[in-house]
């Protein structure tokens, strides 16, 4: 086996040094009746060549969005990731390093995390951010827990237009705690009436911007109402590119931003691993979950970085920790940092403008089709269509033509009466002829 160095001779010598007769003697603590004697019922070891073939075969059974016009969004977005980002996360010193608990030999990872935290704070308009969470949905759930700790209250209000997965995960996370969530119903039109629910027992209101249907809103008023009631406003952003063109949640008065950072630097990868963002105000930092990297100096007075505030974490606080989360999204946050560094102010804002203008132009084209209506008054790079036919059927027909035409709303909201609704995302990766193909295919189908 290419990954293991010992030859039979070496093993024999080592056993002798240890003073046992056989490998079995090393496993005597395993109850005799449970010890396996034969091999597991699995294939034997395979060469690298064969392993590669196996995966090529599996890959061949999928339709790659790289070879098909792709208009899929619903919380995960196809963007062009510069090759430098993927190259760098494969560098041995990043890829195969451990969690930077030994700062003297981990400044690379640590400084990159410090830069990540700063970038996330800047784009969200918040004061601080942590070193990443699993994904946007878990970040959302953790934000609610955090808001409950901060306010010492037990109830959260979840917007009906929060991504259904985020709502599900928050519900799942809260179900065995002392906290609970009031979930509003999805609404296609008009504002949600949060006021009716905000009371002195409310820890936070959770909204999403752009929301699940793609609409964008200014939540400044809501933030004020929350603060008046002593509650926090949690703003979820799962298309982080939108922040290049939109007012930041911080500007709107958000107290916590829970974001999905996949759009920047991270491949779609069938849903994971992604990179959860969590940003907040400096004063809440000790209630914040997850890992934090801080600036300090070494013995010689040189600037350096360390993981810090670990007293919030499980290693020390155990059952009193702020959260049970122990890892972060490591390489994904590094990819985010590299991609964001490449974009810079100029690139990030321009990318957002391109996404928005392409989406706006496409929406107009589609809206002009018979049997298609764009229901959004506002949006960033994703909008909802009402079709004259069942959206799932249409999507299947498009797929048969090699087009990934959108996400049927009913796939995520099966209980709502939304069978004809289709989410369509348009990013910089949609070329003019991709859009043309979609338009003409929809013409044929509808």
């Amino acid at each position: 086996m290419r990954y293991m160095p010992h030859t039979a001779d070496e093993r024999a010598i080592m056993l002798q040094e240890i003073g046992v007769g056989s490998v079995d003697d090393l496993f005597v603590d395993i109850p005799a009746e449970a010890r396996l004697t034969g091999l597991l019922d699995l294939p034997l070891h395979a060469s690298e060549m064969d392993v590669e073939k196996n995966f090529r075969t599996l890959a061949g059974k999928n339709l790659s969005p790289y070879s098909a016009p792709c208009f899929l969004g619903a919380g995960a977005y196809q963007h062009h990731v510069p090759s430098v980002a993927d190259h760098l996360i494969q560098r041995s010193e990043f890829l195969t390093a451990y969690t930077p608990y030994q700062p003297e030999i981990s400044q690379g990872t640590l400084q990159a995390l410090f830069e990540f935290q700063t970038q996330v704070a800047l784009i969200t308009g918040m004061e601080v951010a942590n070193a990443s969470m699993y994904d946007g949905a878990t970040s959302c759930a953790e934000s609610v827990l955090m808001a409950c700790r901060v306010t010492r209250r037990k109830k959260a209000i979840l917007s009906g237009n929060l991504h259904p997965h985020y709502r599900d995960v928050t519900r799942t996370t809260l179900q065995f705690t002392e906290f609970e969530a009031t979930e509003l119903s999805p609404t296609l039109e008009g504002q949600e009436d949060f006021e009716a629910h905000i009371g002195k027992d409310i820890a936070c209101v959770v909204v999403q911007n752009p929301d699940f249907f793609g609409r964008v809103q200014d939540f400044t008023d809501l933030a004020e109402k929350c603060h008046d009631a002593g509650a926090l406003l949690v703003v979820v952003v799962n298309e982080i590119v939108s922040l290049g063109a939109m007012m930041s949640p911080g500007e709107m008065g958000a107290d916590i931003v829970a974001g999905e950072g996949q759009s920047i630097g991270v491949p779609l990868s069938f849903g994971g691993p992604y990179v959860g963002l969590l940003a907040t105000r400096q004063k809440y930092v000790r209630q914040m979950p997850g890992r934090l990297c801080g600036e300090t100096v070494d013995q010689d007075g040189q600037r350096g970085f360390v993981l810090t505030l670990s007293t919030r974490e499980q290693h020390i606080r155990r059952e009193k920790a702020t959260s049970n989360i122990c890892t972060n999204a490591g390489l994904c946050s590094l990819a985010f940092t590299v991609h964001m560094s490449l974009l810079g102010e100029t690139g990030f804002t321009n990318l957002a403008k391109i996404n928005h203008s392409e989406a706006a132009a496409t929406a107009e084209l589609l809206n002009a089709l018979e049997g298609v209506e764009v229901i959004n008054d506002t949006f960033f790079n994703e909008f909802t269509l009402r079709l004259s036919a069942n959206a799932s059927d249409v999507v299947e027909k498009l797929a048969a033509k090699g087009i990934l035409g959108g996400v049927p709303v009913s796939r995520l909201l099966p209980d709502a009466e939304v069978d004809n609704l289709l989410l369509v995302a348009v990013t910089e990766t949609c070329a003019a002829d991709d859009i043309e193909k979609l338009v003409s295919a929809l013409k044929e189908i509808l």
Binding site: Y3, M4, E10, M14, E17, G19, V20, V23, I30, A34, L36, L39, D41, L42, P43, H45, N54, F55, R56, A59, S67, C70, Q90, E93, E104, S106, Q107, G108, T118, D135, T138, H165, R171, D218, A245, M247, P267, S269, F270, G272, P273, L292, E295, V297, D300, V306, Q314, E319, A321, N324, G330, S341, E345, T346, G347, N350, H356, E358, D377, L404
Partner: protein
Amino acid sequence: LETPLIFEQGVPGRLGVDMTEPKKVSSRLGNTARSKPIGLPDLSEPQVLRHFVRLSRQNYSIDSGFYPLGSCTMKHNPRINEKVARLAGLGDLHPMQPVSTVQGALELIDDLAHWLKTITGMPAVAMSPAAGAHGELCGVMAIRAAHEAKGEARKRILVPESAHGTNPATAALCGYKVESVPAREDGRMDLEAFSEKLGPDVAGVMLTNPNTCGLFENDVKKIADMVHEVGAYFYCDGANLNAILGRVRPGDLGVDAMHINLHKTFSTPHGGGGPGSGPVVLSEALAAFAPIPFVTHGENGFDLVEHVEGEASNSFGRMKAYHGQMGMFIRALAYMQSHGADGLRQIAEDAVLNANYIRVGLNDMLHSPFDGICMHEALFDDSSLKDTGVTTLDLAKAMIDEGYHPMTMYFPLVVHGAMLIEPTESESRETLDQFIGAMRYLLNKARDGEATYFAQAPHFAPRRRLDETGAARNPILRWTPEEDDPQSDRTLSAAS
């Protein structure tokens, strides 16, 4: 050479990514358009590349040296795994593609599930947890859901003293009271104490096996029986699965739930702290409570169950957006296929062999708190350093100068000044011999009274010892532009 922060570089207007001009269309952003600058620096592509290459060179990594890091299973990370994870048609799939267009992806998940179930001897597996701790959460939620389905409102979870901190943190998140069970003289859980704490209000026990002292809990079956007898469930922390692959199946030991750290045991890799992936294998008793989504196999190929209804009606819910850490699944499956049944068993054997080789190589100079054979990691305490003025921490930092990553220190908590060394199966005998030699050299040096040398270590790292206390007291968690009002700056970084 010092590497400034990315924010301390760049010139406004410089480009790192080329793009076309945005189309001129009327905005659909309503009243939410951004009016203020963000404050990101503008750099060219070569600058960014050089910045991160330079940063990387300040890191230690497995590819550059040996990591004797107990409890972390820092093993070889094969490059073929990275390659296949990036194949067109795998790495680039959108999670919401029609299932008809992702049959290969679903097959892959199903295939990985089969390997995990076979390796552990368990009938079911929940694939979506995003990391080990997330897997623990999954397992304990399944336990609580199972109790609730029976109408039982149990209150307590028992956890051995030596457990990872995530165990009690997880139990607390599921609304359980955590009770600690002491260890015996031999480093295993005290069965008597355990038995005393056990009762009808105990929901479950969370045990790591092999445990964090590197020892196999030889009473594990008895423990399982006792747990089941009171109607509780047996959660096994799978962090140390590496030591027993192909030698024993947790399912045969009475385990009800166990998470598997794909980034440890199956090398997906660590990546400086993530991402992880923590599928949870479940017993028949808990299988019905598994989280959504999961893959099923029907007439028309593979399908996904994404909602809590029908066959998922007992599910305790959804743990993350989409279907799991696919990128890690690909790498783990490639790793498993590469090893096969024979290689997996060899992993455990060589991991345990290497740990014992180190134990024997050092046990005349370092004291083992527990006698006899260890599993995949060798545990020492700091009694040999007594009166030298050198602490476990000092010794660990001195290892850096010898070219090694420090071992795990001060964990498990049950051992004074603990040093936990896990070589993994990846390392050759030459490397182990060199490491043992370096350790013996340092231990002799400590005995020779060179405490000052140790207190000053590391001497040759990119940084000397860092002021961690200061960092925590006055947390500076982000860069702030200098031109900002210094007053507000100070407020920002000094506020608690």
